[in-house]
Point group: none
DNA sequence: AAAGCTATTTATAAACT
DNA sequence: TAGTTTATAAATAGCTT
């Protein structure tokens, strides 16, 4: 009556495969929930992205992800083995992947517009010069127009630079430890730290 | 000596983004280790496959996997409804809140430029008309220029709208309360059950 | 960014409903 | 198969240094 109180509350268990099948099912459900909760808390507390994928004993897939599993797994896979894609962007803040995609589409469209406008500006400028050397009317208003035109061109140039800078910033590869300036130079394996359960448990599986 | 010892041990904390950066870093490391350990235990206890991917605040990737992250993510993705994959690569990634502000600032600046250009466009257009009714040269090149000019104006208008929408998205999203569970969160989609942190925390971050 | 140290808060193994 | 309870095992927040 003294030594071992079987106790009613939690009991220590060895971390090894649970034999009783129904018991295993219960533990799986409970711990899976606990794991997802932990992941959720970590994501919130530190404002980081997390993906957790668990296949049940019956091969059913359970997952947790912030902002979502797909974007994270893609980001992970795209960086690990294969060299990062082009200087093409990886990008923007948002808690929703769908919108992130929309954003990059929009920004890309903007860039296209900017380029188009630059060309327009050049064309206009050329035509202006042609007209100018063509004679007649040397009216002040014409001068003003030329002036305005050049201002427009300058504005467009500035705009393009601004947007380019913006896009550049937004589409930066979050590879290095530099807050927002990682460049996708060469995929560094060192940026990947992968743990396996063997680090926690010596038991072979 | 009795009342409130701030206590030395663990104190309850609210699950919300940690403000102090160094504190956040410590918490990230500790909880990440804890999360991986939990994943490891679940994997062992129930003999199931698990993958956990975490991107640190500095966008460094940490992962835990049994038997390995890649095989699990592939298995997961292959079963998922394949993403549409637009012309643009999967360069959609997430940035952190801090950058949202910068983005807004930049985009706002762009908007200002757009407005300025729009004015230029209008002025030019008016001058063009004035010139036109003013005489001489009814050359085709002039027609072309007018045409181009109007195209430019249209492009600018479109650009402005696009940017406005973009800014709108960025400004609105962070405060939106619509969870992105839409994808397949929280519910069951075939053999997929995806949870998101919103299931645990009602607060949007 | 790394290790210990508590004092508490959490997570849970089993039993129970 | 899933909640509730209980008593205990674990995880960890805030400090050291």
């Amino acid at each position: 009556m003294v030594s071992e109180k079987p106790a009613m509350g939690r009991r220590k268990i060895k971390i090894e495969k649970i034999s009783k099948k129904n018991h295993l099912q219960v533990t799986f459900s409970k711990r899976r929930a606990g794991l997802f909760k932990k992941a959720s808390e970590l994501s919130t507390l530190c404002g980081v992205d997390i993906a957790v994928i668990v296949f049940s004993p019956a091969q059913k897939a359970f997952s947790f992800g912030h902002p979502d599993v797909d974007s994270i797994t893609r980001r992970f896979l795209s960086r690990s083995p294969s060299p990062p894609s082009s200087g093409l962007p990886q990008l923007i803040e948002t808690r929703r992947n769908a919108n992130a995609h929309d954003q990059i589409v929009e920004l890309t469209r903007i860039l296209v517009h900017i380029e188009a406008e630059k060309k327009y500006g050049e064309v206009l400028d050329q035509m202006r010069r042609a007209d100018r050397s063509r004679c007649c009317w040397e009216s002040p208003i014409e001068e003003l127009e030329l002036h305005e035109l050049e201002q427009l061109r300058g504005a467009l140039e500035e705009l393009k630079k601004t947007v380019a800078r913006q896009v550049n910033n937004i589409l930066i590869e979050p590879t290095s430890s530099l807050p927002f300036l990682a460049v996708n130079g060469g995929g560094e394996v060192g940026d990947f730290v992968t743990y396996t359960r063997f680090l926690y448990e010596p038991t072979i599986v």
